[in-house]
Amino acid sequence: MSTLLEIRNLKKYYSVSGGMLHAVDDVTLSVEKGETLGIVGESGCGKSTLGKTILRLTPPTDGEILYNGQDITKLSDAEFKKLRPDLQMIFQDPMSSLNPRMSVKEQIEEPMLIYKTIPDRQEREKKVLELMDTVGLARRYADTYPHELDGGRRQRIGIARGLALEPKLIICDEPVSALDVLIQAQILNLLQDLQKEKGLTYLFITHDLSVVKHISHNICVMYLGQVVEKCDTPTLFAHTMHPYTKALLSAIPVPSLKNRRERILLKGELTSPVNPGNRCRFAPRCIYAKEKCFNCTPELQDMGGGHMVACHFCKEIGDDGNGTTDAT
């Protein structure tokens, strides 16, 4: 297995009145070829900004993004354009990411026209229909418009568009959060099938821990622009270390009357990402916070087997973590 994407000390700051907003702050991560890396966090934690920065939809403030060993932040626009077909994105809301005045066929064809991958019109049309088969859209929808379709089918168009240029890496930004459970299951299965078939690599951004657990091989938990916990999926759920991950996990309402988790209620809400200063960003809401947490930013440290945690006291707190208590 080889590393497809590597991000080193990526920073994205926005200048706002009152200082610098640290949207993504010193994020380091890597994605192996053919794997899914899940990025989880609440709104405002910088997960979407991270996705956009990787695709150069917004320039990073500092740091390196290595795609196949090549730093894409240093490429010129023309050079990057050659790479763009490899890196595609699927957005959350298919209604606002599709053009309402283009038919399904035209939407899927558009990337191929822009990149002139298939110059012959008939060949291209054949490819469009093949793509529709791949994502499970009936061919009879080729001439319909997005508003005539439901959310699940619209998301399938978004996926077909993402696949049109035969990418290597797809950044999925909350692709199922706008969908109902049954449709969500259909789309998740489709994404998994495509990965197996085409050896795709996903960066899966979501706020939903149960979705991310289902689809990812590795997980990064983000809080206010920083990665607070990073490891493979089974370890994260078996040995949750960071107090924020624990709270996040315990806050999910479980659709079952058995295995109720003991709930850790967090105080307050996200603090401001503007000038966060040198301290643990989670400290104001953390039940374990001590003085040190307010004076010094914890570094990610390896707790064994590549389980990276950014917390001064996670060893003391221990990994009794997932807090499952049998209530029955």
């Binding site: 609440e42 109902d180 459970v181 449709i183 299951a185 657990k213 806050a251 309402p253 479980v254 659709p255």
Partner: protein, 336 residues
């Protein structure tokens, strides 16, 4: 015997549109006892919100009609104020203005659009109190501050505008407003869907506490089975405008019977168990403009048989208090 706060019997609601009639709610019956919370679960377009709007007398006009059925709220039949008689319409509006916010409180999904951006939050809470009670402005303001403290917002923020609060705080204000006149029934339409999980946990905790304090009955509308397991006493699963399964939480979560309920549980990615692949059922919910004569779940059902195509199953009691609308299950019952 406890008299139910809300009783809905055989409710049918249609929307008339230019292209046809949408059968949004079909023969829905349910009951909520004082202090009890009923969860109404279903997909987008299943008719959940239409039921809530009907109870509040807020069906979109023109177009929304109550075709048949009876809604009794706190012993009074409110469906008689829902006639489409023009001469009655002033009287009807007056009646619903009296009960909204007073007998029935409502919490909406999106707190930003439920609050008026040009009034301070304190004024908006006080407005509800002054509208329904004969109190002076000062008294109402004082009560509003108390309500804010109750939902965990410092009283000093009385003079802040909605945009100065975060999403979770705004939802707390909407809850304070809904509870300001101690309503008998609280209708919560996806109250936590727009919030982050940790904030959702806080708001659910708050609602749980307040429910106990005020002994308010609650109708909780949601698409999230986790939220239902968390806060409800009873649960109704709704599909294409019909209740397909109805019972206590133990009935629905530990012993689900209807194929649709089973499909919902199977499609959820779980935190506790490992599954390679989710069990997704194909297809979409039947179009409410074009509902079949037979079981509306037939086309997507894993357990269908030929007999299903010949009749529209009725809600059958499979064990005391547990109702299921499925031919397979009702025929099993008969055999017993």
């Amino acid at each position: 015997m406890n008299e139910p706060i809300l009783r809905i019997e055989d409710l049918v609601v249609h929307y008339e549109t230019r292209t046809g009639v949408a059968e949004a709610v079909n023969n829905v019956s349910l009951e909520i006892l004082p202090g009890e919370t009923l969860g109404l679960v279903g997909e987008t377009g299943a008719g959940k919100t239409t039921i809530a709007l009907t109870i509040m007398g807020l069906l979109p006009q023109p177009g929304g009609h109550v075709i048949q059925g009876k809604i009794t709220l706190d012993g009074e039949e409110i469906t008689r104020y829902m006639t489409n008689n023009r001469r009655q319409s002033n009287k009807n509006d007056k009646y619903f203005r009296k009960i909204r916010g007073n007998k029935v409180g409502m919490i909406f999904q999106d707190p930003m659009s439920a609050l008026n951006p040009v009034y301070t939050v304190g004024e908006q809470i006080a407005e509800v109190i002054r509208l329904h009670n004969k109190v002076s402005r000062a008294e109402a303001n004082k009560k509003a501050v108390d309500m804010m403290e109750l939902v965990g917002i410092p009283g000093e923020r009385f003079k802040n505008y909605p945009h100065e609060f975060s999403g979770g705080m705004k939802q707390r204000i909407v809850i304070a407003m809904a509870l300001a006149c101690s309503p008998r029934l609280l209708i919560a339409d996806e109250p936590t869907t727009a919030l982050d999980v940790t904030i959702q946990a806080q708001v659910l905790e708050l609602m749980r506490g307040l429910r106990k304090e005020f002994n308010t009955a609650m109708l909780m509308i949601t698409h999230d089975l986790g939220v239902v397991a968390d806060i409800c006493d009873k649960c109704a699963v709704i599909y294409a405008g019909q209740i397909v399964e109805y019972g206590t939480l133990e009935h629905v979560f530990n012993n689900p019977k209807h194929p649709y309920t089973l499909a919902l549980f199977a499609a959820l990615p779980s935190l506790d168990t490992e599954v390679e692949r989710l069990q997704a059922i194909e297809g979409l919910m039947s179009d409410p403009m074009d509902l079949p004569e037979y079981c509306s779940f037939y086309d997507r059902c894993n357990h269908r048989c030929d007999a299903c195509k010949n009749c529209d199953p009725a809600l059958t009691e499979v064990e005391p208090g547990h109702f299921v609308r499925c031919l397979r299950i009702s025929s099993e019952e008969e055999e017993k």
